[in-house]
């Protein structure tokens, strides 16, 4: 590798580390409004990392990711309000419930082949949302607010509360990022990367691909559930349309990952950052916001299936966060002489 590339990769990593440090110190210099946006950013980042793990590595293109966010939100509410559990224990309940729901969902979803799988996850998500709207203790279809006492457990003053919720989101994002990184560098992750690039090579590595995909699917559920719990804590309300919002927790997330760069760890980060930057300018455009994001994602797929990070990576000449050890060819480039 030429020296100039070493330099640009090193400076890229420097920026990444600097951003992480700034996030860690954010509560000391941001007002509650800023912290709220940043909390939202971290939650969406977690969702993006999880969707990318499934679609970019495990060949599970889910359109039903919002289901587990909603399940986490409802489980958190149930644990903290209905069961009167300690709020921090309620987080564990949210993660666990999402995991438990993922088990039967997996049985259904894994029976569907590639293209069908996407819509299959959507059906599962619809069913879960409709069931949530039938739960009497959760306010049926219109939902219910979180009692003030629950919010107070995280800080009596609003700014303290915002800081606590921020720390929770930060911790979740940090754990999600670090553990996904380790998972991708494990035998399972390497096997999945090999599968994506060349099915035969993966078989030769002796990695059980079905098991690897199952591990990934179950892996994401608790993280999505926890994100749902934190989002609930921030919005102080659960309802089927908001907690199970396909636009907020799936559509935006897919666009973020696709635009940022699917199949890398840098891509979801880049895409989510870009999403928040664009939102500043586009959110007031209403429907145009989604039209622009949709168009952008299609254009990027046509130009570079690996998204903006794919373009940037070519310029830098390497990964900032190296997951696989070798060079990576493009998607499905399975032409053989």
């Amino acid at each position: 590798m030429p020296r100039r590339q070493h330099l640009s990769i090193a400076s890229g990593r420097f920026v990444l580390a600097g951003a992480a440090l700034a996030l860690a110190a954010a509560p000391s210099f941001l007002d509650p409004g800023g912290l709220t946006v940043l909390t939202e950013f971290l939650c969406l980042l977690v969702l993006a990392l999880m969707w990318n793990l499934l679609a970019g590595y495990a060949d599970i293109v889910t359109v039903g990711q919002h289901a587990f966010v909603g399940v986490g939100a409802y489980a958190f509410y149930g644990a903290v309000v209905l069961l009167d559990l300690d709020p921090y224990l309620a987080f564990a309940a949210a993660a666990l419930t999402a995991f438990v729901i993922a088990l039967p969902a997996m049985v259904i979803v894994f029976r569907l082949r590639a293209a069908y799988l996407a819509v299959g996850t959507w059906v599962v998500a619809e069913v879960l949302m409709l069931i949530a709207g039938k739960l009497p203790n959760f306010g049926f279809g219109s939902g219910v607010s979180l009692p003030v006492r629950v919010a107070r457990e995280f800080g009596t003053r609003p700014d303290a509360r915002f800081a606590t919720i921020y720390w929770l989101a930060f911790a979740l994002a940090a754990v999600a990022f670090a553990s996904t990184y380790l998972l991708l560098r494990s035998r399972i992750g390497l096997g999945l990367t090999a599968m994506r690039d060349n099915e035969e090579a993966a078989g030769a590595m002796g990695v059980n691909l079905v098991r690897a995909r199952i591990v990934c699917f179950l892996w994401t559920a608790p993280f999505l559930g926890l994100a749902g719990a934190i989002i609930t804590l921030q919005k102080l309300r659960i309802s089927p349309p908001a907690s199970f919002s396909i636009i907020d927790w799936t559509v935006f997330v897919i666009f973020n990952v696709v635009i940022g760069g699917i199949g890398s760890l840098e891509g979801p980060i880049l895409g989510t950052v870009l999403f928040f930057v664009l939102r500043e300018y586009l959110a007031q455009l209403g429907t145009w916001h989604l039209i622009i994001l949709g168009t952008l994602s299609i254009v990027i797929i046509l130009i570079e299936p690996r998204g903006l990070w794919g373009l940037l990576r070519r310029m830098l000449g390497g990964d900032l966060i190296p997951v696989s050890h070798g060079a990576r060819p493009g998607f499905g480039a399975d032409r053989t002489p």
Binding site: A333, R335, T336, P337
Partner: protein, 239 residues
């Protein structure tokens, strides 16, 4: 060499074939005269199939000229090439498994010169056993019968040049004998044949001329009788 150059039916000049970074053929020259059977022999990966695929424009990128009946067809799309009179019998037969025998054959006619001189009847005359199986899906046929359909499909295109890629692969010797006998009778009608074959003995037995490919280059060419066995084997393996 007898019939290379301007008078040839097919004349490949300085052909190189690339798959992304990999170069499969290095500027080779090959000619097939009308009514001639030309064999391409060579070891696995020598570039034999790449040559045939390049002629029908099914490779990533080529350099050089491919003249068919005097026209450069190197930049034409596959359907136009086939419609102008070059039909391929692909390696592994590549029938459409759920289509009936008849449907497979009709697609051959459709892609070809759409001549009224050929029809299903001719193919069934050549391969009588296919007549009874015309309504069966192709996957139900034996390997030999499938090869007959593949050959029939190419013949229905009414080709002036027939490209055959490893038609003996995986078939019983008696079936292969029949197929080669047939190839000779097809050739006698004036159809040029470019034959890719791993079985050197068979390839040389039917050919007027042959080319031996070694790592993407021509290592030997001429009439089969011009060389002894050892010479050919040496150029085949490159030792």
């Amino acid at each position: 060499m007898t019939s290379s150059g301007a008078g040839a039916l097919l004349s490949v000049e300085g052909l190189s074939v690339y798959y992304e970074q990999f170069r499969a053929l290095h500027g080779i020259d090959i000619a097939v005269g009308a009514g001639e059977i030309v064999s391409i022999i060579g070891a696995n990966g020598a570039g034999k199939s790449s040559l045939l695929k390049a002629i029908v424009a099914q490779v990533d990128r080529i350099e050089g000229r491919i003249l068919f009946a005097g026209q450069n067809i190197a930049s034409n799309p596959t359907p136009a090439i086939v419609a102008s009179g070059i039909a391929l019998v692909p390696e592994g037969r590549r029938l459409f498994p759920t289509l009936t025998v008849e449907e497979n054959l009709e697609i051959g006619w459709q892609t070809g010169r759409r001549s009224s001189d050929v029809g299903l009847g001719e193919v069934f005359d050549l391969f009588p056993m296919l007549r009874d199986k015309r309504r069966q899906p192709a996957w139900q046929l034996s390997g030999g019968q499938q090869q007959m359909v593949a050959l029939g499909r190419a013949l229905l295109a009414d080709p002036r040049l027939l490209l055959c890629d490893e038609i003996s692969l995986g078939l019983a010797p008696t079936v292969v004998n029949d197929l080669y006998a047939l190839l000779l009778s097809i050739n006698r009608r004036g159809i040029g044949v470019l034959l890719v074959e791993q079985d050197i003995r068979r390839a040389l037995a039917v050919a007027n001329r042959f080319y031996c490919l070694l790592e993407g280059r021509i290592s030997l060419s001429g009439r089969p009788g011009d060389f002894d066995r050892d010479t050919i084997t040496r150029h085949y393996f490159g030792s």
